[in-house]
């Protein structure tokens, strides 16, 4: 599935209930972390539910895994990962995630608290991208702890 498909799917659904059901469906498909992955190192602060994002750095691109204990948040994570996965650091930094959520018709349906939670995730992803551009992770799969 590509981000264009997701935008198509979401904008096709014309009421919030169907959009939410779809988010829940995406959330259900997202693989769960095991307990060794649910550690503070990967935890995103500023969310009302628990959220973890793990970055993976390869030569040219970054990818991320994510999980939460709330299902709608898992759905949002699925969308966010679709937006950012397998992109170069520069591409990640250039993405306007709010615009994409707007196109999906999701922006108006996500409460401010939830939005700030979502934006904390995005901030963290962009933080990793920025670090990667600065050459901090050229040879490592995961960032060093002192950078967190």
């Amino acid at each position: 599935m590509s981000i264009e498909n997701l935008i198509d799917d979401f904008s096709f659904l014309d009421n919030w209930e169907d959009k939410y059901r779809y988010l829940i469906e995406l959330g259900n498909q997202l693989p769960h972390f095991d307990d060794t992955q649910k550690i503070d190192q990967w935890k995103i602060s500023g969310c009302q539910s628990q959220v973890w994002i793990i970055p993976h750095f390869s030569n040219s691109t970054l990818s991320f895994q994510g999980d939460s204990d709330a299902i709608i948040v898992r759905g949002i994570i699925a969308v966010v990962l679709e937006i950012f996965n397998d992109k170069s650091a520069q591409e990640i930094l250039d993405i306007d995630v709010e615009e994409i959520f707007d196109k999906m018709g999701l922006r108006e349906h996500i409460t401010p608290n939830r939005r700030s939670g979502m934006l904390s995730m995005v901030d963290k992803i962009k933080f990793y991208a920025k670090e990667s551009l600065e050459g901090k992770h050229e040879h490592s799969r995961v960032p060093s702890e002192e950078n967190l």
């Binding site: 539910s49 709330a70 299902i71 948040v73 409460t111």
Partner: protein, 404 residues
């Protein structure tokens, strides 16, 4: 006879639509909505009667000062304090508790002393004492509540010791709703020479405060929870204690004489109100407290008791719903979890239905964790909550449940 349907009309915000839905506000325990009389008072204070207080010898300042001091008298009446001089305006209940900890606490707590708290205190009345203990070498001791959240006298009595110097407890838990037997607590604590601070934030919304009957040494509550403005709170202290306490902050309005070398401080309450206070917020709080005092608290309590019974029954009818805090003596807060559904997900759907509930740890993280959760959902009642609100809330809750 008290009628929430009529009371509702005094709160303009309750008539607005949320996303096309009725506004079902079930988060009064976090902050209450505001009656029209408050807005009128604020408008008048800014439009017609505003200047700094306690300073100018001109008409506007005199009127503003009079209104500000009148608000103090109203607050004193609201809690039945013997004198307005015992009423200190603070920024919030949190600041009130911090003030006592930083002045009375730091002066009087020593190594080996104990500060007794319940396990249901919220962060303002927990972290504050924890940190004061670290500074003074005193120790924080906790007493347990019952499984259903009820206050168990033996637990409290056993935890009280000859080392207890301060008992700091809520009068009503913001998570469990449990009402604490404040008067009895004060009597027992005083018998061993300890002072008592009551956190009345939730209690003030639902029940009549009477500091003389309680005989508490300190009592704090916040304005925004009693239908007043944000940024204002009340700290009551017995005057003899206040008089002995050092200032909390330094600045204008709390001094007697200042030279380049030294300063003498004025008497309470001014001693604890350094700088320009939240003038209009205090005046607004006065209006809100007067608004509350027009009702007979016994009638409010009776009405709420029925609403609590009704809500409890409706909630427990929902499959997989677990309610925390079912003590006989409880106020209108309902913390709950539904099996297999994260509270945030619930709140998400409820929000779309116009229903406002709180989720998380309600600034009482240790208690919520002790119940076995990271996060709970909480619905709470105000004087404007009707049976129809409860029905709409329950309908939305059932709908949300079907989502997952």
């Amino acid at each position: 006879m008290f009628d929430a349907h009529i009371v509702r009309k005094d709160f303009p915000i309750l008539n607005r639509l949320i996303d096309g839905n009725k506004n079902i506000y079930m988060d009064t325990a976090a902050s209450a909505q505001k009656p029209f009389v408050l807005m009128q008072k604020l408008e008048k204070a800014y439009m017609e009667e505003y200047a700094n207080v306690h300073r100018g010898s001109y008409w506007l300042s005199e009127v503003a000062t009079e209104n500000y001091e009148q608000a103090r008298k109203i607050a004193a009446k609201f809690i039945n304090a013997s004198s307005p001089d015992s009423v200190i305006f603070t920024r919030s209940a949190t600041e009130g508790i911090n003030l006592v900890a930083a002045t009375y606490g730091l002066e009087n707590l020593h190594e080996g002393d104990e500060i007794l708290l319940s396990r249901a205190e919220h962060h303002a009345n927990l972290v504050t004492w924890q940190q004061t203990a670290l500074k003074t070498g005193a120790r924080v001791v906790y007493f347990d509540l019952g499984e259903d959240g009820s206050f168990i006298w033996e637990n409290f009595e056993k935890a009280l010791s000859k080392h207890t110097k301060i008992v700091a407890v809520t009068a009503m838990s913001n998570v469990l709703g449990t009402i604490f037997p404040v008067e009895k607590i004060c009597t027992a604590a005083h018998k061993i020479g300890a002072k008592v601070l009551i956190d009345a934030c939730q209690f003030a919304v639902h029940k009549k405060i009477d500091v003389q009957k309680f005989d508490c040494d300190f009592l704090a509550f916040s304005g925004h929870k009693v239908y007043g403005p944000t940024g204002i709170g009340v700290l009551y202290g017995k005057y003899d204690l206040l008089k002995e306490m050092p200032p909390y902050q330094y600045g204008g309005d709390m001094i007697e004489n200042v030279s380049y070398e030294m300063t003498t401080f004025t008497l309470p309450p001014a001693r604890f109100e350094a700088g320009t206070p939240a003038i209009v917020q205090a005046i607004g709080l006065g209006a809100s407290l007067e608004y509350m005092m027009q009702f007979d608290f016994n009638e409010i309590e009776k009405y709420e008791e029925e609403l609590i019974k009704y809500t409890t029954k409706q909630l427990l009818d929902i499959d997989g719903l677990k309610l925390f805090g079912t003590a006989n003596e409880k106020g209108g807060v309902f913390s709950f979890a539904i099996e297999g559904i994260h509270p945030q997900d619930l709140a998400f759907i409820l929000a779309k239905e116009g229903v406002a509930i709180r989720t998380g740890h309600f600034c009482a993280q240790p208690l919520v964790n002790a119940l076995g959760y990271n996060s709970l959902a909480r619905a709470s009642l105000g004087i404007y909550t009707t049976k129809e609100d409860i029905d709409d809330f329950i309908t939305a809750l059932r709908k949300a449940k079907d989502f997952f």
